[in-house]
Symmetry: C2
Subunit: 227 residues, 2 copies
DNA sequence: AGCAAATTGTAATTGGCAGTACATTTTGTC
DNA sequence: GACAAAATGTACTGCCAATTACAATTTGCT
């Protein structure tokens, strides 16, 4: 055991600081664990283990478990929004545009199960942590405005019936897209996995699109209403 | 303080046994607490406090927290089934029968939020506790058979298009009925409570019925298919 | 009545996990 | 280069809540 002059043996102790990267790393791990196990089900130690840093840093940046959860929830919303592509709905006829929006929403939810599970957990907690977040509110209002524009064009062209409520329509689209992911475990436990194969999912998506289109379509009476 | 001959003062110590009633009492309290707070969120002490008996009896009859949860989950399914009325669907034309089934399902889910929340929680847990339960499987297969009969009649009469998958149709009906209850907290936190007023709910139910009927309705091409 | 099994009461115990204390290292700034 | 503030490492502590130990009481049975 020779005394190393520059005793750098096992790189004794020395690290680099990188606050932003550390915070993002923690949020990533937290989202994954909260989505898997819920708020009280997730363990800070487990989250820390999934991290490149330590439990100490979680408390340093996020104060406590609830603070971490709130930030993870906002991060989940932000991440899912970043995954949204510009659908250029204005380039399509109203019916075609709506069909594209529904199909995209269905697929997009499917691609982001962790986000869905965070929302499920938030619902279990009666949306207690979401109410304060302006970020989250804004994200969803964007979706409503998109729908509102589509509805306006559809009514004007006579393709859509009158009096469609954009929030209700958003509810209808969300219901199927969300349920498809949120209830997959119990549904496939009871009825088997057929509906969750590639073919099954494609069929469900087609049905969802068809249902929405059928619901907004103008009836002959409505068309008579055109002045 | 005269010595009471039959010293029954404050009924010193003496109780009646009633195993069945105690078990039901515990399950009722457990379901309520699990539905409110989730599996790890619910506290045995809180459940015991909602009971006419003590924490000791919970462990006596249900072994541990998970055992209690499993029984509470089955009890939730059993209770919701008991609340189902006989809709006498055979007495109605297929379209009318289906409309009644959808409307009833929508309302019935709304009347049983605790059941919905138990299923939400089970989904968070990847349906781990439900897989073993034959009871639960049977309850849902009943719904499928009801739909299958309706579909058969509708196809025969030419009212419905061909090739409707009863499980997919059940998925469609469940999606809207379930989502309506499960996501009420987050949805109303973001978009306000309008859709959850009496009028709002009636409108959503109408939309759900209309969407399902539009989706199963035979197109003119299908009708040409009739031999 | 008397015995054994079932049921209930009372009071611990134990482990897990959120949160903290304190020391050390890095980094910007003068 | 020295000082302060920011960032990180290490090792706890304290408490909550699940579970259990043990005693007492009831009930069915003969």
């Amino acid at each position: 055991m020779t005394k190393a002059k520059e005793n750098k043996e096992k790189s004794k102790s020395s690290w680099k600081q990188n606050p932003e990267r550390v915070k993002q790393d923690i949020l990533r791990a937290a989202m994954s664990e909260f989505a898997k196990s819920g708020l009280s089900g997730a363990k800070i130690d487990d989250i820390a283990a999934k991290t490149e840093t330590s439990k100490r840093m979680i408390y340093y940046y996020f104060d406590d478990k609830e603070g971490l959860y709130r930030h993870a929830l906002e991060a989940a919303y932000a991440k899912v929004r970043k995954g949204e592509v510009n659908l250029d709905l204005a380039d399509y006829a109203p019916t075609e545009g709506l069909a594209r929006l529904v199909a995209f929403t269905f697929d997009h939810h499917r691609r982001n199960p962790d986000f869905i599970r965070m929302v499920m957990i938030e619902n279990i907690h009666h949306a207690a942590h979401m109410r304060s977040s302006q970020v989250i509110r804004d994200l969803n209002l964007g979706a409503i405005n998109q729908l509102r524009a589509l509805i306006a064009r559809g009514e004007a062209s006579g393709d859509f019936r009158r009096g469609i409520d954009p929030v209700a329509l958003h509810w209808q689209i969300s219901a199927m897209s969300f349920f498809n992911v949120s209830n997959q475990p119990t549904f496939s436990a009871i009825f088997g996995k057929d509906l969750y194969s590639n073919d099954g999912q494609a069929a469900l998506r087609d049905r969802a699109v068809a249902m929405i289109l059928a619901d907004v379509r103008a009836t002959s009476e409505d068309q008579d209403d055109q002045s």
